[in-house]
């Protein structure tokens, strides 16, 4: 079986990797590019732990073939902070204790960032529906929702000041 060479952009940087045709984008990110922030939970699109952005839209990277990423732009949890400065979502997740084991957190952060890019002022219902594809077995979700609301307020404030 011949490998496929894929040229893509990950977190703003050009990246190339070789993969088998059946390899998922999730496996390529973790094993070829060593970006292990993205997690594999279910491997069937039910849990959202592997959420990344693909050309600006969030997807389950377990349900994308790595070969499909040719020429596309991918965003992972590693691209959310700017250097050592945490994104407001990350700060508020910490403050609100919106995680316990943390396995689902990268997926929640990518999904919540995608929500706030599209809707800077979501209400609680909108947040809960948007995050319905991200499962957390520790927190009961309430702290996650509060963290997203708080981060959304931070980002709106930043925008007003700027």
């Amino acid at each position: 079986m011949s490998k496929i060479l894929v040229s893509t952009t990950v977190n703003g940087e050009a990246q190339e990797f070789a993969c088998d045709p059946s390899t998922s984008l999730l496996d390529a990110l973790r094993t070829e590019l060593h970006l292990t922030g993205t997690k594999e939970g279910c491997g069937s699109g039910d849990c959202g732990a592997c959420t990344v952005s693909l050309d600006g839209e969030m997807v389950c990277s377990c349900l994308v073939l790595a070969a499909e990423a040719e020429g596309r732009s991918i965003g992972t949890v590693e691209g959310i902070a700017e250097g050592s400065a945490l994104h407001p979502l990350q700060t508020r997740f910490l403050e609100h204790a919106a995680l316990q084991c943390g396995f689902c957190t990268p997926g929640f952060l990518v999904a919540a960032k995608s929500l706030l890019e599209k809707n800077p002022d979501p209400d609680e219902t909108e947040i809960r529906y948007w995050l319905a594809g991200n499962l957390c077995r520790c927190t009961g979700y309430d702290k996650i929702v509060r963290a997203v609301q708080h981060a959304a307020a931070d980002l709106r404030q930043e925008r007003t000041v700027a």
Partner: protein
Amino acid sequence: MTSATYHAPASVAEAVGLLSANPAAKVIAGGTDLIVQTRSGRVKPSAYVDIKRIAGVSGIRAFEGGFAIGAATPCTALLEDAALCAAWPGVIEAANLIGSVQVRNRATMGGNLCNASPAADSVPALIAAGATCVVAGPGGERVVPVSAIPASPGRTSLAPGEFVVEIRLPAQPANASDAYLRAIPRTEMDIAVAGAGVALVMEGGVCKSARVSLGAVAPTVLLVEAAGAALVGTTLDDAALDAMGEAVRAACKPIDDKRGTASYRTHTAAVLARRAALIARDRAGAKA
């Protein structure tokens, strides 16, 4: 893992060539069913034919007063077309009940149709709407009703080398609308226990034509002509809705499984059809 190959053809003809040459090849659009089925071993594709790089197979365009939707257009992209949402809100809401946002950013109505699940959410809405699809194959293109594609659970009527290129929604008259409802035990991330799509044309408060389609109550999605006929010529009064419900229950041939019993599915299908009919009527009235 079998040694599948991956292809991203640039034209419909190239895709047909790949599919014809390779009977165990699978079309990949959103991949949200195919990749799961491959991983579980249920399907073993010898090749993936990715149709997303073919010009015209993604996106929405006006067509004969209605809409032509590329088979690889993700469900969430439908929400961005205001004219489409205004004309066929039931189809759009059905497509956007599937899975999560992550899934809908990839999943397509073309894939939902060709996966041939009896519980596919967008299919009853498309059938109620009278949608057709363009099928490309070795013999060229043909246009068939969406209802002709599902053959049995997991099987389509597509011949070797064929694939769905486009789904077409007809022009929507004034005073017409549609709705789709499904029952699941929670509000998101589940598969329909029963689903009902209804499309109506109203005139002066009276129903001129009606199509009722049901999901998850038979081996394929059903078009129940008797249910639509029960509404025509009425104001959707209780007697007409009762008659429609009777026709719906008579058409249901569901299975008992972990999602629901046959009797629950049958009862629920009629309740959903009734509610969907009233929503479609109110939407049609609001447009007048």
